[in-house]
Symmetry: C2
Subunit: 129 residues, 2 copies
């Protein structure tokens, strides 16, 4: 699979893919004799994983550390599990914050919906307006 095909599959740029490889967010990708990247299914799976993790804000640094440990072999199971657990905690915290913000936004939007009918915007509790 060429870099272009992988880019189209995941809607990212070649620059980002090469960057991910360079900083170790994914392992080194298989190449043709000429030195052109030729992604195997495994390479693509690593890309998919990286994008999924990045979508949830997992840092490039953490992903690279995971890949580094992965390449060290089976003796790093515990360390890898620890990283994943750390990522999960961060994501859960983020999820909670997002939920709080969603609640606040829903409340505010409902107030604006009333305001657009009555012409008056009013908050029940401690809001800024």
């Amino acid at each position: 699979m060429t870099i272009k095909e992988v880019c189209e599959k995941f809607d990212i740029t070649p620059d980002t893919l090469r960057y991910y490889e360079r900083v170790g967010v994914i392992p080194e990708v298989h190449r043709t004799k000429g030195g052109i990247r030729d992604y195997t299914d495994e390479d693509v799976a690593w890309v998919e994983n990286a994008i999924c993790m990045r979508n949830a804000g997992v840092s490039v640094e953490m992903l690279a550390e995971y890949v580094r440990l992965f390449q060290l072999g089976d003796s790093t199971f515990q360390a890898r599990r620890d990283i994943l657990a750390e990522a999960r905690e961060e994501i859960q915290k983020q999820l909670d914050k997002y939920q709080v913000t969603m609640d606040r936004l829903n409340y505010k939007i409902s107030k604006y919906d009333v305001a657009l009918k009555t012409g008056v915007l009013s908050w029940d509790d401690c809001e800024e307006e």
Copy 2:
């Protein structure tokens, strides 16, 4: 309320608070005669709102636009509602992504838990390892 007190209340730095004011993420804060910031309850409510929105990744630019419209008065109800709705959509998308990543992480971690007992790490489906 002094800038220090507000910082302690929300666990942020004075630099961040001044930055928020400078770029319009919050309206101009009340001052003492000497020019020192003296946050009113309303100022503090704006800060709280800004932090909540930033926690969910709402951009500084979007928050500043909301404040700008707010200061233009009641004729901007619709525009303000639109911004909030846009923010809500972005947050919902992000929430969905986070959930997908959480599911993947939970799956991987459970595999590592098995591996730590059996010494063998195996994926049922299309994973990278």
